[in-house]
Symmetry: C2
Subunit: 421 residues, 2 copies
């Protein structure tokens, strides 16, 4: 396969055929005045091709404000393909092409990039995750089951020493994974270096005493050169997991970290809502997560089932599965990452989270689900581990729990959410 | 001023006061269960503060699909502030904070970041444009008036030699500025190195013969390390303008180019529609252009008056003015860039383009407006230069043109667009 395929959900006042032509033209050889240089040979080599058009509906009003108007606004799925010769395997130019000026076309009153089908050459050309799930477990000195994790809270405001003190109580509680909040990076009130030093003293002490290495995802997100300095600091202190806000640092920023890093890359998708919230403009997670994985994220946030945000459970499940699906349907390295569930997660979500994937290669982050356990954080972690064990054995937690154990206490404490899968 | 202010246009089913609290909490010290560590002292230091709430309307249906529902969906402008102590002057963390998880809040059925007010420290902490308009003119060996430019078309499909041949005819026509299309970066069919070599031979020959240096904005957009290699290649060949697609490379990518570059940075905003198209989710250009300027763009695309895309003239005018407005209202370097007008531009748009700004520090890119001139490209360039001269002297082109001159020919050739300023 030597072409890249993209599918768009569009709405248009000028008819689906015409709109698809404009889109394919704008993103390849077309200009609004046909030029002499646009020869048949050039078009055969470089023009985008409309592969299919499927009408899905029609409306009397445009979904988005648009300069062109029509009697009806036709909705449909349009698949367009480009030859690899136009931009090779460059991800930034793939973005400029598949997700560039087309969002502003006057002929479109809705435009979402919903699917992208990449040749195996893309999978081969990019480094992808350096460690993935297997490497993550290796960093921990071996670990079975999902990683039980949490996020430093409050998100922002703790000093470096406050953070280390909280980490001390979390590692004592038996946690596997701790991450900074996306708001906490390198501000004057909690500088990265001081925080990393204070936290790694606790993590390393705990490893020396117990043999267990807790992963600390330090939020290195910053300008490229600063991220490199942060990574160097991590290496000196034996820190093995770098959190990067993939939208804030950009996909090219993630790749730069990957090229420079001996650490796991924990991808946080703060800002994701800009792409996901509107049904009428944006880019699907199915598409974006391929770019982030090609760039090298080992872990990628997918929200949580029954989360406190807007995404429904079907969307979250699809996102989690996407991260474990090969990046190209046509061969090359699979470049799978570990999905990270978080947001309002308790013992009730572990079994469905596992069922979505059919395996334990995920990170499960809980906040209140650990800290608000009636018998304290250690019981909170234990209750989640018991729930994970129950899920692995295919036993409902109601049957798995024994009276008065941490799991049954958690079941009494946390209301059971509605989850629709 | 030691706080950063952001204004959001929101819609909510839970009441504006409650929605503003959730937003401010999510993006600073709040958690959905209040923690012991969230002390009054911590909140005083780090919490986001709701500065103002102004109701603007109400609807019976939500603008965007949302999990929470209400009897009415209240719309309003909410201004929130954060202390600099939380994240200092880091642009990526500013993005994670002002434009992060909040887009996904279930309490919001619309959320756009519309304004951002930065302290002078932000202007001081960032390099900003290295050259701006003055430096751009210096690279050209001095130049009066707006830069008359064009874009290589077809966008993609020309070989390196085809491109150089087209450039030869353009420089012969007297053009000031030529840019690659955003689709043309470093694909196998037109590799960056080969194209740059072929084009710079033409540009440098022309400079040797005529003393005039035409700027060629070479599209370097790629992964960070590749952009650096492209910049090195440019320096060896005496190329002085690097085009970067600011969304595809990311703001951190732009900054990385700025730190490594002895060249002008020509910022192209391919993909901008994702942020701009929906009135209910996204980020305004007023906000984003500040980030790109702080990161270092010397030129920034703003669309054109009477363009072929969706933005109306008021939006384009506001964008062009924004790029020339100091990045902070409170002092520090102004970091102004040159606005770049393009898309369906002819002699009719130069006067209004200049009136919007009140000066000639802009780049005016025309395609058909040059190539389709009845007396050829040289007359096309000359007609635009005459139109610019008329604008500078405050004379309507109808009065400035003389019978049969390139300007009057262009007026006869190109239909006069409706422009509403």
């Amino acid at each position: 396969m030597t072409r890249i395929y993209a599918t768009y959900d569009i709405e248009t006042p000028v008819g689906l055929d015409r709109a698809a032509s404009v889109l394919a033209g704008e993103q390849s050889t077309g200009t609004f005045v046909r030029l002499a240089a646009e020869t048949d040979e050039l078009r055969a080599r470089s023009a985008a091709v409309i592969e299919s058009i499927t009408a899905t509906g029609s409306a009397s009003k445009p979904a988005l404000p648009t300069r062109k108007t029509g009697a009806t606004y036709d909705r449909g799925l349009v698949t367009v393909s480009w030859p690899l010769g136009n931009f090779g395997t460059s991800l930034p130019t793939l973005l400029s092409t598949l997700a560039g000026n087309l969002f502003e076309l006057a002929e479109l009153s809705a435009i979402r990039l919903v699917r992208m089908d990449l040749p195996a050459d893309f999978a081969r050309a990019h480094p992808g995750p350096q460690f993935g799930a297997t490497g993550t477990r290796r960093f921990m000195g071996g670990h079975d089951g999902p990683l039980i994790g949490t996020i430093i809270k409050p998100s922002i405001g703790l000093t470096a020493q406050d953070t280390a003190d909280l980490v001390r109580s979390l590692v004592a509680a038996g946690i596997d994974f701790i991450k900074d909040d996306e708001l906490q990076a390198n501000g004057p009130d909690c500088p990265f270096d001081a925080r990393l030093e204070a936290v790694m003293r606790v993590i390393n002490d705990h490893a020396d005493k117990t043999g267990k290495t807790v992963l600390y995802a330090a939020n290195i997100t910053d300008e490229i050169d600063q991220m490199k300095r942060n990574l160097d600091k991590m290496q000196r202190l034996g820190a093995s997991c770098a959190m990067v806000c993939v939208s804030s640092a950009g996909q090219a920023g993630v790749r730069s970290v990957r090229d420079h890093s001996a650490a796991l890359i924990h991808g946080h998708r703060a800002g994701w809502g800009v792409y996901s919230r509107s049904p009428d403009v944006g880019i699907s997670f199915e598409v974006m997560q391929k770019l982030w994985r090609l760039a090298g994220v080992d872990h990628l946030h997918v929200n949580g089932l029954a989360n406190k945000f807007t995404e429904d459970d079907a969307t979250v499940a699809e996102a989690a599965r996407a991260v474990q699906t090969p990046v190209s349907d046509h061969g090359g390295p699979a470049h799978t990452s570990m999905p990270v569930y978080s947001s309002g997660q308790t013992i009730w979500q572990i079994d469905p989270a596992r069922r979505v994937l059919g395996n334990d290669d995920f990170i499960f982050c809980a906040g209140g689900g650990i800290m608000s356990h009636p018998s304290g954080p250690a019981a909170g972690v234990e209750s989640l581990r018991l729930a994970a064990e129950a899920a692995q054995q295919g036993i409902p937690i109601e049957a798995f729990a024994t009276k008065g154990d941490p799991l049954s206490q958690a079941m009494a404490q946390f209301p059971r959410p509605n989850i629709s899968l």
